[in-house]
């Protein structure tokens, strides 16, 4: 009884619960740069999870939105000297626009076709940014994104300090958590889950499936774009790899490792994936082998993921 009420309490106040965890998270990590990475990739996986975990659409092209978010923010800062508070929305909006175009084409297909089409279109985006060298720096990536201090209500915040940077980025993550939570508990959130469970029945109930899918796709792209935008500020460069196929794969791996269709899962998955990468690269350079093997083990034996399995286990007892 007590456990159930605790569980219900957590799921009712899921934003507060996740925020509380993320507030103390830097102390749980071996070093702070890793915590910042988990924050950014957790956000990225959360955007992906909105589409894959909740709407049931497996995209293999979400690197496009992470990368475009990064480039959007980077380009307006480097080439046009925009301040950060305009550059972040610029990245998010550009990623959303790419989301509209890619989504509009990709939702014409279903199931595995959708995965193949999103993968191919993301590769196309990769080539476009790779070729537009004068704007994006091409192979070398976009360099020279500077954000060292922030003037906030007369307060000088030094962002070169990793702790300050973590909490600065956390503000955006918490806002997104709140937003996603609202979306999921809205009627729209219920509709996307009916599409995941049974698309035909959902259409038969009178919902506009194509439009709902497109809206979910663009929301997901916008969140991944925000993650990319924050990543550009964090790294101060945009590597062209952020648009690569393997980066799309990272979102898939993190979301599944953490637990697809769970609210907290993406952050658990991002932390697990980045910790594996961090620990394994200290021992051997073949971390992809370990990451791939762990991922296959989860697909075969723990498809609910880490957080999903814990929730399932708690609810069952």
């Amino acid at each position: 009884m007590l456990r159930n009420s605790v569980l219900n309490g957590i799921s009712r106040h899921r934003v507060a619960a996740v925020t509380g965890f993320l507030l103390v998270f830097p102390w749980l990590m071996p070093y702070e740069a890793l915590a910042v990475n988990v924050l950014i990739f957790g956000l990225y996986a959360m955007g992906f999870n909105l589409l894959f975990g909740y709407t049931g659409m497996l995209s293999f092209g979400h690197a496009a939105f992470l990368g475009v978010g990064s480039y959007g923010t980077g380009i307006v800062m480097v080439h046009y000297g925009w301040p950060w508070y305009l550059a972040i929305p610029a990245g998010v909006i550009l990623a959303s626009l790419f989301g509209v175009v890619i989504g509009w084409m990709a939702i014409r297909t279903r199931g595995i076709y959708f995965s193949m089409v999103t993968l191919a279109l993301a590769q196309c985006v990769y080539f476009i940014f790779y070729k537009a060298e004068s704007l994006t720096g091409g192979e070398n990536g976009l360099r020279g994104i500077k954000l060292e201090t922030i003037d906030f209500l007369g307060l000088q915040i030094d962002l070169l300090n990793p702790t300050n940077k973590y909490y600065f980025l956390l503000i955006f993550v918490v806002m997104t958590l709140w937003f996603v939570s609202r979306v999921l508990s809205s009627p729209f959130g219920a509709v996307i889950e009916t599409i995941r469970e049974n698309e035909k029945r959902s259409a038969a109930c009178g919902y506009d499936v194509a439009r709902t899918k497109l809206v979910a796709f663009v929301l997901s792209a916008a969140i991944c774009g925000l993650a990319g935008s924050l990543r550009a500020l964090h790294l101060s460069v945009v590597p062209v790899d952020s648009l690569h196929y393997l980066t799309s794969g990272q979102a898939v791996m993190m979301a599944l490792l953490g637990g697809m269709g769970t609210f907290f899962g993406p952050f658990v998955g991002a932390a697990a994936f980045l910790l594996i990468e961090d620990v394994v690269t200290n021992i051997t350079k073949y971390w992809q082998f370990v990451a791939g093997a762990v991922f296959m083990t989860f697909v075969l034996f723990f498809p609910r993921g880490i957080w999903g399995s814990i929730l399932h286990w708690l609810r069952q007892r």
Binding site: G111, G249, F295, M296, L300
Partner: protein, 292 residues
């Protein structure tokens, strides 16, 4: 200045390039048509095929022998994959085999790096297939002609196998309705196993065939996988004629655009795919409704 000879020569180059796409997407289509599994490790089998081929070539010194060894070795790997990794996932939703093979491609890439190192492997044009011949519109590399002929032979053999043999009959029936085939007393899971092995063997074979015209590196399977997906979307999943027509079409579009608009060569095949998606989402030869 418009040069017709150059155009035709470039189109033949495109057909040679497209031959590799044809082989790859036939393997993908074969596996999907029967098992409804999208093999995300298909590019990795292609890459392993190239590496095994280069290794066999180094040991035996005979290119033709390595063309026999590669499909056997890579096909055996495919059989093991289906039996122990993909089979437990049947009936658990279409995404799971896709996710599993995606993870497998990571593992295979790093395994190849462990054995052969991260650098590329050199492979010259096989002896007897070097040089160029005049094909009427200009000189054309012999090896690329060989690629076209080899692909035609493999495709013809596959077509005879599927249309004219008893096992091919089981494949065609199983792709349409596995339930009925099972009721008729045929072990469908054995057919699935063999089809997965066959598809990966063709992927490996196309790897060694393409090795002399592509760089052999552990990552060579990634662009190839994406190109094979483009071909599959254009041609229609599960359709053999679709794979052939779309493979050649994508090859020709790529080589023509790299001649006339080199800056857009990489993106041209995606534009083609986008156009097909807008006009015919199920692909040129795809059946409507197969996707759902």
């Amino acid at each position: 200045m418009f040069d017709l000879k150059l155009l035709i020569l470039q189109m033949v180059t495109g057909v040679a390039l497209g031959s590799v796409f044809v082989l790859l997407s036939i393997g993908l289509s074969l596996i999907f048509g029967m098992l409804t599994v999208v093999n995300f490790a298909h590019g990795a089998y292609f890459m392993v095929g190239a590496y095994v081929g280069v290794y066999a070539l180094g040991v035996t010194g005979n290119f033709w022998l390595s063309l026999v060894i590669v499909p056997l070795a890579v096909g055996a790997l495919g059989l093991l994959t289906e039996r122990f990794l993909v089979r437990p996932l049947y009936g658990r939703g279409i995404d799971y085999p896709l996710l599993l093979t995606f993870g497998l491609s990571y593992v295979m890439m790093d395994l190849v790096r462990m054995v052969f190192g991260s650098d590329g492997q050199p492979i010259g044009t096989p002896p007897g297939l070097g040089g160029a011949v005049d094909i009427g519109v200009g000189n054309f590399p012999v090896y690329r002609l060989f690629l076209i002929v080899a692909t035609a032979i493999i495709v013809a053999a596959l077509w005879l196998f599927i249309e004219k043999t008893r096992f091919g009959l089981i494949i065609r029936a199983g792709a349409r309705d596995p339930e009925i085939v099972r009721v008729l007393g045929i072990d469908v899971s054995k057919a699935w196993l063999l089809v997965f092995g066959l598809g990966t063997a063709i992927a490996g074979l196309s790897g060694i065939l393409a090795a002399p015209i592509r760089a052999v590196t552990p990552e060579m399977g990634i662009p190839v996988l994406i190109e094979a997906f483009v071909v599959t979307v254009v041609g229609g999943m599960g359709s053999l004629p679709g794979a052939i027509v779309a493979g050649l079409l994508v090859g020709i579009v790529y080589s023509l655009s790299s001649l006339y608009v080199p800056d857009f060569a990489d993106t041209s095949i995606f534009v083609l795919m986008a156009l097909v998606l807008l006009v015919r989402p199920q692909g040129l030869f795809g059946r409507a409704g197969l996707m759902s």
